[in-house]
């Protein structure tokens, strides 16, 4: 630590540049992780909000909520601690001057997926809905009457709830009747037992249903099968993993160049009998200092940038994840220092003194 720190203090410019590079890599990693997290919640918020263990869909729907149809009778036959019926349809909602892609959830007010109202009140009559508060960013407000694509029904926003987006669209929660009128129009009454799936809380997912046409899917599996979700998160996560590898290589190259420049100095120290182990520890300590400072500044910069970004950018910073990534960055930087350590161990003190 003694050598490492004194060298950094003496050669401020050189080490500031290295810290700068590490900071930029960390910035990119943190920002991508924020983006990955933000895009993920865009898709899964409403599902996470259920806090459910599984969702039951028809087997032939291939884990797609919108493609699954069943009847309420089938739902009643299920074995679970708690069940909640769910109807779902996508639509475009518009007022005179605004429009938004929405996902309409038909639910029962007394079942566990009923959202908490953060503003306004819960739906109490047909065609009243609680909307995700993110729809406010599209210019919608409490009391707005929404026209829908593909039906003459009109919905009224009576309340808002937080964290309720499904597959990138804000959710409108209404009762089952509202959902069926939107979905089936004049045939709504004939289809009043039609739902898309059943959300369940249970310890034993396999025991939920014995109906061979139905399939209980764990929440996480269900989320992964949302359209585009896995492709998106894999892409971003791969970029993050590559950045880890890249930062390791960058640090390795920088330190190696620095070490090669100092070979004769290390040689002189070894001639004096200073153990290789001490010199190697010093290089590792130096890497740790540089990486820790770089990552810390990168973290601060990311959070500052996040605070100034427009709401339309889907970043959401999960501090625990970022801290883990930060630790990984420091760790891979230290792995990058290994080459330099090997070089130091191999230095022949005799050559250094020109013997």
């Amino acid at each position: 630590m003694f050598l490492a720190w004194n060298e950094i203090q003496k050669n401020k410019l050189r080490f500031t540049l290295i810290i700068g590079v590490l900071m930029l890599v960390a910035y990119l990693v943190f920002f991508l992780s924020g983006l990955a997290n933000g895009l993920a919640s865009l898709n899964r918020e409403a599902v996470d909000k259920w806090d459910a263990s599984a969702i039951v869909l028809t087997e032939e729907s291939d884990k797609s909520l919108v493609a699954s149809t069943m009847t309420i009778d089938e739902a009643e036959a299920m074995e679970a601690d708690k069940t909640a019926v769910l109807g779902q349809i996508n639509a475009i909602a518009r007022t005179d001057d605004q429009k938004a892609n929405v996902s309409i959830f038909g639910i029962r007010e007394d079942e566990f997926i009923m959202p908490e109202v953060s503003e306004g009140e819960a739906f109490s009559a047909g065609n009243e809905v609680i909307a995700s508060d993110t729809i406010k960013e599209d210019g919608f407000a409490l009391g707005d009457e929404l026209e829908l694509s593909s039906t003459d029904e009109k919905l009224t926003i009576v309340g808002f709830t937080e964290d309720a987006r499904f597959n990138a669209a804000p959710v409108l929660y209404g009762d089952l009747g509202t959902f069926q009128r939107v979905k089936f129009g004049e045939a709504a009454e004939a289809n009043e037992d039609q739902i898309n799936g059943v959300v369940v809380r249970t310890d034993d997912i396999s025991a939920v249903t014995d109906n061979s046409e139905l399939e209980a899917i764990e929440s996480e599996t269900f989320i992964e099968n949302l359209p585009g979700y896995t492709a998106q998160s894999l892409t971003l996560n791969f970029m993050i993993y590559f950045l880890f590898a890249i930062s390791s290589v960058i640090v390795a190259i920088f330190l190696y160049v620095l070490t090669v420049q100092k070979i004769s100095m290390f040689g002189v120290m070894k001639a004096q009998g200073i153990p290789s182990g001490y010199l190697a520890r010093s290089v590792v300590a130096q890497t740790f200092i540089l990486a820790a400072i770089g990552v810390a500044i990168g973290l601060i910069l990311t959070l500052v940038t996040g605070a100034f970004l427009p709401a339309a950018v889907p970043v959401a910073f999960a501090i625990p994840t970022m801290l883990i990534y930060g630790v990984i960055l420091v760790a891979v930087a230290i792995i990058g220092a290994v080459f330099s350590v090997l070089t130091i161990v191999k230095i022949d003190p005799l050559k250094a003194i020109g013997g």
């Binding site: 100095m265 001639a271 004096q272 009998g273 200073i274 153990p275 290789s276 001490y278 005799l350 003194i353």
Partner: protein
């Protein structure tokens, strides 16, 4: 009792018809408080002698004792410990660390070794060498002579039994060179260390107790005062 003793040291580099005998049947003894010069033209084997005496190189055959411990067959790690504990090097190229101040050059040794000089001894050493005012300077801010004096301080700081100096006056003008030799002599006498100076500068031999001459790998006692 000899601090440094060499018995029948041979050192051979290469093999076949490229074989070079750098040292031939060398015997050498140095006692406490002696300042010894080894002179000879370049390529005569002086440096090989110095590196073997300093535990940087192992001899091809023969025994070498430092404080009665045979170091001829030690591995690099053990040799490194011997160098740290027993030897102080003053090298031709300045052996100072560029990013450490004079004080911190000494402090570095505290990090890896015990039994170095205490604070008063260090102050006295600085004063003897006339470098007290330079203590917070970096090597790049020092002149050649100042750097050489700091290098001497560094070699003495660890209280070694043997100081090995390779052309310690090479980069200095005559006045400075004599000054450095006088300093080495004083420290050798005061601290009862053994100092061996390898040089081709015969003007320096008047400061030495013994002078050895190296010719084609053969070391001979040249003069004893």
């Amino acid at each position: 009792m000899a601090v440094l003793e060499m018995n029948q040291i041979n050192k051979t580099f290469g093999s076949g018809h490229k074989k070079v005998d750098a040292l031939k049947k060398t015997d050498f003894q140095a006692e406490r408080g002696e300042l010894i010069a080894v002179i000879g033209p370049s390529g005569s084997g002086k440096s090989t002698f110095l590196t073997i005496a300093g535990g940087l190189l192992s001899p091809t055959s023969g025994d070498i004792f430092i404080n009665e411990k045979n170091i001829a067959s030690l591995n690099e790690k053990e040799l490194s410990k011997v160098r740290l504990k027993e030897i102080g090097f003053i090298l031709q190229a300045s052996n100072l660390i560029p990013f450490l101040t004079v004080d911190k050059q000494m402090k570095l040794l505290d990090k890896v070794k015990k039994d170095n000089m205490n604070k008063q001894e260090l102050e006295q050493l600085y004063e003897d060498l006339g470098i007290t005012d330079l203590r917070n300077k970096y090597p790049s801010d020092l002149s050649g002579g100042e750097r050489q004096r700091v290098a001497i301080a560094k070699a003495l700081y660890s209280n070694p039994s043997i100081i090995l100096a390779d052309e310690p006056t090479a980069s200095l003008d005559s006045d400075r060179a004599y000054e450095v030799m006088q300093l080495l002599r004083n420290e050798t006498k005061n601290k009862k260390t053994t100092t061996i100076v390898v040089t081709h500068d015969i003007r320096l031999i008047e400061y030495c107790d013994k002078v050895y001459k190296m010719v084609d790998g053969v070391l001979k006692l040249h003069e004893q005062s």
